[in-house]
């Protein structure tokens, strides 16, 4: 059975279900569970649901220490940029401790944060920083693009025995979709073909999956069949599924909300260059944010961030096998 649900509600549903399932799961963060009327606090009690100060280094570090000693913390970090004040804990503590101990400890920790809020939040609150967390041995990173994935990936993240950064797109918060009832786990490290197609592959992440789907729809009306692949996990990255799609279609556009060299798109393009080269019939093409911080004012912001139109144009350019300026 499934039901229609909002993306954000799907995330919460997974957290609640996993907390019901395993009493070692705890949940804390800033500006949550302030009063006894808080529904999560009511359900799970003061020990398991907590309010924290603006102390990300301690919040994440405490999560690590708690995970090393038997709990399974979910840390609510709100915006992913806030993690940067504590990035040593994310990149150089959580994923290293198991390895350095020769496998003696594990760190089952979920770092939950939203990203890419393009809504006039300007230069420090609108970024995509997933690229900086890719390729860190020991660290997993997931980016759901639909309510169902949001639920299934959260469940998987909580059950995983490794640190997982769970990044939800702010722009998808209110989107609705069918979400399976009850236990629903989307395995980490498995990409999803969100739309099948034959002429070209579009690889997109997070909010950009929605834009890519819209672009594919428009292209379909013009007789172009685009396959949309959503990696869902950026680490581990399901290179196999992506490469298989590219091998099938022979062409690929990579869409990413981040600037070009800090995008997952660039890394994926590198993998394609190594593993699908012989099947490519045209150069890969990246559609990314421009090389600028996200500006405040609406026309400026719109100009910097990729959109449906740019995707459509890129697809057409690749199909015409001619390079156009990014």
């Amino acid at each position: 059975m499934a039901r229609e649900m909002m993306y954000m509600d799907a995330i919460n549903a997974a957290i609640i279900e996993e907390m019901q399932r395993d009493e070692n799961v705890i949940f804390y963060g800033q500006n949550m569970a302030m009063t006894e009327r808080d529904p999560m606090l009511k359900k799970f009690g003061k020990d398991r649901v907590r309010l924290t100060p603006i102390s990300e280094t301690a919040e994440i570090g405490i999560g690590i220490g708690a995970a090393m000693t038997g709990l399974r913390p979910i840390v609510e970090l709100w915006m992913s940029e806030f993690m940067l004040v504590a990035f040593a804990q994310v990149l150089n503590e959580a994923p290293r401790l198991r390895y350095m101990s020769g496998g003696q400890v594990k760190v089952p920790l979920v770092l939950k944060a939203g990203f890419g809020f393009c809504a006039g939040w300007a230069g420090q609150h609108s970024n995509c920083i997933y690229h900086s967390m890719m390729g860190i041995p020991g660290l997993k990173v997931v980016v759901p693009s639909t309510p169902a994935d949001a639920k299934g990936l959260m469940a998987a993240a909580i059950r995983d025995d490794n640190p997982v950064v769970y990044l939800h797109s702010y722009m998808l918060t209110l989107d609705k979709g069918q979400v399976p009832d009850g236990e629903y786990v989307v395995p980490l490290g498995v990409a999803d073909v969100k739309r099948a197609g034959t002429d070209i592959t579009i690889v997109a992440v997070g909010w950009m999956v929605k834009k890519a789907m819209a672009a594919a729809e428009r292209l379909a009306q013009e007789g172009i069949s685009a396959e949309v692949v959503d990696p869902r996990s950026l680490a581990p990255l399901d290179v196999k599924t992506i490469v298989a799609s590219v091998k099938k279609t022979g062409r690929v556009v990579l869409v990413d909300q981040a600037p070009r060299h800090s995008s997952a798109a660039a890394v994926i393009a590198g993998e394609i260059a190594e593993h699908a080269f012989e099947h490519l019939r045209a150069p890969v093409k990246m559609v990314t944010a421009l090389d600028a911080s996200v500006p405040y004012s609406e026309p400026l912001e719109n100009f910097v961030v990729p959109n449906e139109e740019k995707i459509v144009q890129a697809v057409k350019a690749v199909l015409a096998n001619q390079e156009v300026a990014a």
């Binding site: 800033q30 500006n31 302030m34 009063t35 009327r37 309010l51 924290t52 100060p53 603006i54 102390s55 990300e56 280094t57 940029e81 806030f82 940067l84 004040v85 393009c118 809504a119 006039g120 939040w121 300007a122 230069g123 420090q124 609150h125 702010y170 722009m171 918060t173 209110l174 421009l290 090389d291 600028a292 911080s293 500006p295 405040y296 004012s297 609406e298 026309p299 400026l300 912001e301 719109n302 100009f303 910097v304």
Partner: protein
């Protein structure tokens, strides 16, 4: 208080004027969410309630001293002399804004008026302010830096690291911990160890063996007095002080967070909306620093009712003009967005 810090009648009236200008500006910003929906994007944070802290602090500065506030930054440049037109235009994301529409409400900057900029990431700008004090020391400019940050920010590592370095280096800086009793939706008593123990937040100064004092942040004269002392100390090369100004944020943390194109508005104050504590809100509302200071000046005859009205009318007119200017200013051209990335 030492004679030199005694406030003349003119100065008191000037302070009142600045407080009124801040209040009028913030109320106009708040009204804009209703009167001009969609014009303000992102997150806007108001300083109503902080007027005494802001003006009391900045009334002690010398001409070239710097102010380095947090992202809740509207009040400070108003006192420094930044044109309200440019400020409002920036909040409205216009081409004629202070930052040409690149920064918005959280990131006003006006270096020409001794306000180098802000950070939206809590605590980080405390280090920037400390760095500005380093410049003052190295270049022997005689400047003092006024670093403003919230009760919430005092729980971020950047705060402790910065103050320790300022103390070791004896930098010319005053740390004004604006305890408006909330960090977003969280009452400070729920997250601060000093507060949990019933102690003032200025006790944190002991971690650096520097003076720490808590002062009534609804009283601009009390703030002026405490900050004067701290600024004197800084100017004398004796290093930083921590001044906790305790007051109450009178509006909600910020406008409601929504996903576009849903319009966003200012909600009720968290005391009521989150904690259901109407009494707390009413009690502090009764201590409104602008209202209090007005009565006091009238009572002490520093100001007549007529003059007060004139000041208020002037501020209202100035803000109205700023709103009109901002609305008339064009949006920036999209292609502008790739400018200013590199110097």
């Amino acid at each position: 208080m030492p004679k030199k810090h005694q406030l003349s009648k003119d100065r008191l009236v000037w302070m009142f004027t600045q407080m009124v200008r801040i209040r009028e500006f913030e109320e106009a910003v708040k009204r804009a969410f209703i009167e001009h929906p969609g014009v303000i994007r992102g997150h806007a944070h108001l300083g109503d309630g902080a007027e005494a802290s802001i003006v009391g602090s900045l009334s002690t500065r010398n001409k070239t001293d710097l102010a380095m506030p947090s992202y809740r930054c509207h009040g400070y440049p108003i006192v420094l002399g930044t044109p309200l037109r440019k400020m409002m235009a920036e909040v409205f994301g216009r081409k004629d804004g202070l930052c040409k529409g690149f920064g918005g409400s959280m990131h006003l900057a006006d270096p020409a008026h001794h306000f180098p900029g802000t950070s939206g990431i809590i605590g980080q700008s405390i280090a920037h302010a400390t760095g500005a004090a380093l410049t003052a020391q190295v270049k022997k400019t005689g400047q003092v830096v006024y670093c403003f940050f919230g009760d919430g920010a005092s729980k971020q590592g950047a705060f402790f690291e910065s103050v320790n370095m300022a103390a070791v280096w004896k930098l010319p800086i005053v740390y004004v911990l604006e305890n408006n009793q909330y960090q977003a939706y969280t009452h400070f008593s729920l997250e601060d160890a000093n507060a949990v123990a019933g102690d003032p937040l200025s006790k944190k100064a002991a971690a650096f063996s520097i003076p720490g004092v808590t002062v009534d942040g609804t009283d601009p004269v009390a703030v002026h007095k405490a900050v004067s002392k701290a600024a004197d100390r800084a100017r004398a090369g004796k290093g930083p002080s921590l001044v906790e100004t305790k007051f109450y944020r009178l509006s909600a943390h910020g406008n409601v967070i929504t996903v576009p194109p849903l319009p966003t508005q200012f909600p009720e104050h968290e005391a009521v909306a989150v904690y259901g504590n109407k009494k707390e809100f009413a009690q502090w509302k009764a201590k409104d620093p602008v209202v209090k200071f007005r009565s006091r000046l009238i009572k002490t005859r520093a100001l007549t009712e007529a003059n007060a009205k004139r000041i208020e009318d002037a501020a209202r007119a100035e803000v109205k003009d700023a709103v009109e200017f901002a609305l008339a200013s064009p949006l920036p051209a999209p292609e502008e967005a790739v400018n200013y990335v590199y110097a």
